[in-house]
Amino acid sequence: MKQIKYISPRTKEEALEVLQQEKDRACIVAGCSNVLPNLKDKKIAPQILVDITTLESLKGIFKKEGKILLGPLTTINELISSKIILEEYPVLTQAAREFADPIVRNTATVGGNLVTASPAADLAVPLLSLDAIVKIESLGDKREVNLINFFTAPGETILNSHELVVGIEFKQSDINKNGCFMKIGQRKAMAISIATLAVNLDWKENTINQIRIAAGSVAPTPLRLTGVEEFLKNKKLNQELIEEAVIKVSKEVNPISDIRASEGYRRYISGILFKRAIERLAN
């Protein structure tokens, strides 16, 4: 067996130094629910495991100046039990409740779900719909990227091997308060999504001021349906408009056929999920 080293940095700076030095040879571990199966299947072969679970500064849910900052090490169960997330960003609570099962949720982290970049990442979809920003740091440098531009391909992101996600931030706003998440899987627990969809809506007197629609498992990466968003903006919300938008949703997603569902079904069900979500938000 190949040699693997292990390091548990005591500070963020120390972690960044290790990443700078080791680059591709390093693999960050936290919740381990993706890394360990990948190690076992030899999909990854790191030389050093960098265990960041001891970095307290990357944990927790913080409210500040009209924004929320999620530490990337926040576990899914911590999200579920957060009152402020439930009240101000319900789309995220709804998605977290559908995430894997309660045992996995004790260790799986928000940051891990994003950097794994599965097309079926259940938390990426509500975070896209909340217009989240990913805060990234490397030794002596930092940058922010909108989640829309974070994913590049299945399992791939814009993150370089010496960089670390240090936070996920989104604004406190009317639109973020009014959200709905929908998931289709084969069963209630532990189902990898066939399709997921999140909608956040800001509307007044039946007119849509702003709408965000995000979808998962229906394209190479989780994505925002900006075409449909543009189409719906400033329009009067009625049944006719919804039906038109349903067709546009089915066209804008870009799914494949795989073991879980066909392309055709995924297109169809994405439209249906959108319809269910918008009707729930509008009622």
């Binding site: 693997i4 629910s33 265990d51 309660p102 045992i103 996995v104 004790n106 260790t107 532990m190």
Partner: protein, 161 residues
């Protein structure tokens, strides 16, 4: 591969052991500490049979690096009984025929222990929801849920049974 020493509390006793960085907690528990009550199922986080309690919370020991439990507290199925006196959940599982092949039972009972500590008044829906990650291929779950329900608080029993 270089081994590192970790120290943790296993079922109330302090244990010191040398582990490799990529050793899984389940392998250390079963093969180095000879506690074979914890089972190895899918190895992927799908089935829940390897569940142990880490600082009181259920986690999957097949998806936990042993090295990360340094300084923490682990409870396995062997740690629930007090001497010869079985834990109430163990008794309830026996009484209700909630054990058939028995492979899922250790994980089921540990997850249920955590559930009842968090929510002693759990309703049937809450029990089913919490136990979602523990799969059983024999019983059809009915007896398992019944056994757990029997261990909820007296107040709750009066309301739902």
């Amino acid at each position: 591969m270089k081994k590192m020493e970790i120290e943790f509390i296993l079922n109330g006793k302090k244990r010191k052991i040398e582990v490799k960085p990529n050793d899984l907690l389940i392998n250390i528990i079963r093969e180095d500490l000879y506690l074979t009550g914890t089972k190895y199922g899918c190895g992927l986080g799908e089935c829940g049979v390897c569940t142990v309690l880490l600082n009181g919370e259920p986690v999957l020991s097949c998806l936990t690096l042993a090295i990360t439990v340094d300084g923490k507290e682990i409870t396995t199925i062997e740690g629930l009984a007090q001497g010869d006196e079985l834990h109430p959940l163990q008794k309830a599982f026996l009484k209700n025929g909630a054990v058939q092949c028995g492979f899922c039972t250790p994980g089921m009972i540990l997850t249920a222990t955590a559930l009842l500590r968090e929510n002693p008044d759990a309703t049937e829906d809450e029990i089913r929801n919490y136990m979602r990650g523990n799969l059983c291929r024999c019983t059809g779950y009915v007896q398992i849920i019944k056994a757990i329900k029997e261990c909820t608080s007296i107040k709750n029993k009066g309301l739902t049974n």
